[in-house]
Subunit: 335 residues, 2 copies
DNA sequence: TTGAAAGCGTTACCAT
DNA sequence: ATGGTAACGCTTTCAA
């Protein structure tokens, strides 16, 4: 493998000059630049990442921590991960993939051994034990989600409270007054993944503000969970005309069971989902939904990490405004 | 940050001794080892990854290339990725995540800059352009899949041909004679992802051997695709009693449409799926299926990469035997 | 605009 | 069983 010294010799310049041609950190005459670049091409020179990291204290690698437990949201996580990788590449960075199950130890390992310049952490819980650990690292980190005490750490996410409000306003605008929320599984609430609570809060507020009759109900995974959930809703809020579903996994069985029960969407009951666009589109009826913009959030996370690395300033919490997209699962309630 | 020299000084030994304590590459007296370990703990020493890579020509990082196009199989890919990360960690390696869309350039970039020790490549196509590039790298690589000319590169995968045979034997054992295969989307065949063809080949062979009446039909994504596919099957092979579904995405709509048409599973028609276990279980009826063992394949890929790095010998092609799991979607055909 | 040379923190070879 | 010390390949300060 050719080294920077080989290149320097071939181009008749000093190694530092080659380095500067590569980094652009100081002016180089057009002549020399060309000679150097020719030598680089001819020798097939590629800088050694380890040597660079050692000399510059920069790895050009980002750590991305994904939840391993194949919870509810595999496709979202995957979308997110690819978004992060793609965005990182536009900033000349690579991505080291860590799983959440390594916990604090994993973060400390890659940070202390200087494998990465910054960390991006998904699936953050309300009182996530990893947060105090992240604070202690010399590398900056960006969280996806919103822990109870985000002090000193930058967070990005979809504004789930606003999403809930938007959803209710949309349904109320169509004339709905009795609306039920099918929430994530109890496990999600228990785990304290804050998006669930933020959505709930927005839902409650807007419901009060608009004077709606609403209720909320978590939904266990699987067909039975959905069955129970629907039964409870009918018992507690009879004559409900619209369902807000913030539970990707429940979406399918829920639609199935509505159909089986002879309740047509949207003729008999309207449905608004909170999920990625493609999930909404993959349903038997294209669902009106608030999109979860994994791609944007991922891009924003990387963008933010880059700012931190450059010492540029950043908002500490950045919540993306939701967009509700009308499709075919919403209609005015029947008279 | 403490360096190995700091540790050496604190422990009253030479830096090389500290290094050897860490690597275990030469015998160390219990005494010294303890003193060194104490010093390491006290100073919170963590070896610098870049420095290590520079001195040892080993990064302890594996590259994993995943398809970015959110094709059919997002959950499988995710399962696979987490399996690779988990397995890599047990060998003290980390995983750098690359996306397929970077193509050959991405592979060369991480390999030439010595960011990784080996590469694991998913979603390999029959005449994948990346393969000649991989051959030229000094790092070894392991493919998931089976290209047309795997010469010089190690491949691991599920034995899809055997999976097809197993499936047909199972159905024939139940007394089925007229069986249709619902295959992947035409796009998959076009792309030349070899697993589709291997399954097809096994299906044809075993069908002939058992003297069955079979047909095969690719299946476009979406509800319409499934509808068309089912209609074609009924036209071409009337009285079909069993369906083999090698198309995760089609599974749901297919079951829906059978039910809508009043054909009950398994009373009226048996269904065997080829998909990950959890997908089979998530269906309204737990499906008899040949599991796609992402976890095992991922683990095997890493294991194989480690062998190559250690200079241990390896089979060039390793196809995992399929397991068919009986669940509730298979029964003898109606009289 | 360019060069020289001192690190960066390990490893591994050569000694003892 | 342990120590000394060249590498490893690059960046960056200091000089010119």
């Amino acid at each position: 493998m050719a080294t920077i010294n080989d290149v320097a010799r071939a181009a008749g310049v000093s190694p530092s000059t080659v380095s500067y041609v590569l980094s652009g950190r100081r002016p180089i005459s057009a002549q020399t630049r060309e000679r150097v670049q020719a030598a680089i091409a001819e020798l097939g020179f590629h800088p050694h990442a380890g040597a660079r990291a050692l000399a510059s204290s920069r790895t050009n690698v980002l750590a991305l921590v994904v939840p391993l437990r194949v919870d509810v949201n595999v496709p979202v996580i995957m979308q997110f991960a690819t978004a992060v990788v793609t965005a990182a590449r536009t900033h000349n960075h690579d991505v080291l993939l860590l799983t959440k199950d390594e916990g604090t130890a994993g973060l400390e390992r890659v940070a202390h051994s200087t494998m990465v310049d910054a960390l991006i952490v998904m699936d953050v819980e309300k009182d996530d034990l990893r947060i105090p650990a992240l604070r202690r690292l010399k590398q900056p980190s960006v969280l996806i989600g919103l822990p109870a005490d985000p002090d000193g750490i930058v967070c990005v996410d979809l504004d789930f409270a606003a999403a809930a409000r938007e959803t209710l306003r949309h349904l109320a605008g169509h004339g709905h007054r009795r609306i039920a929320l099918v929430g994530p599984s109890p496990a999600v609430y228990r785990r304290g993944t804050s998006y669930a609570e933020r959505f709930l809060a927005g839902f409650a507020e807007e419901s009060a503000e608009l004077g709606l009759e609403t209720m909320t109900h978590p939904c266990e995974p699987g067909h039975d969970g959905v069955r129970t959930c629907l039964a409870d809703i009918d018992a507690e809020l009879p004559g409900v005309t619209a369902l807000v579903v913030h539970n990707e996994e429940a979406l399918r069985p829920l639609l199935d069971q509505l159909r089986t029960a002879g309740r047509r969407v949207p003729a008999d009951v309207s449905v608004v989902a909170v999920c990625p666009r493609d999930v909404a589109l993959a349903m038997p009826i294209p669902l009106t939904s608030v999109d979860i913009p994994s791609h944007d959030v991922g891009g924003l996370a990387v963008e933010t990490a880059m700012k931190l690395l450059d010492g540029r300033s950043t908002e500490q919490i950045r919540l993306l405004p939701p967009t509700l997209v009308e499709r075919e699962s919403c209609a005015p309630p029947r008279e």
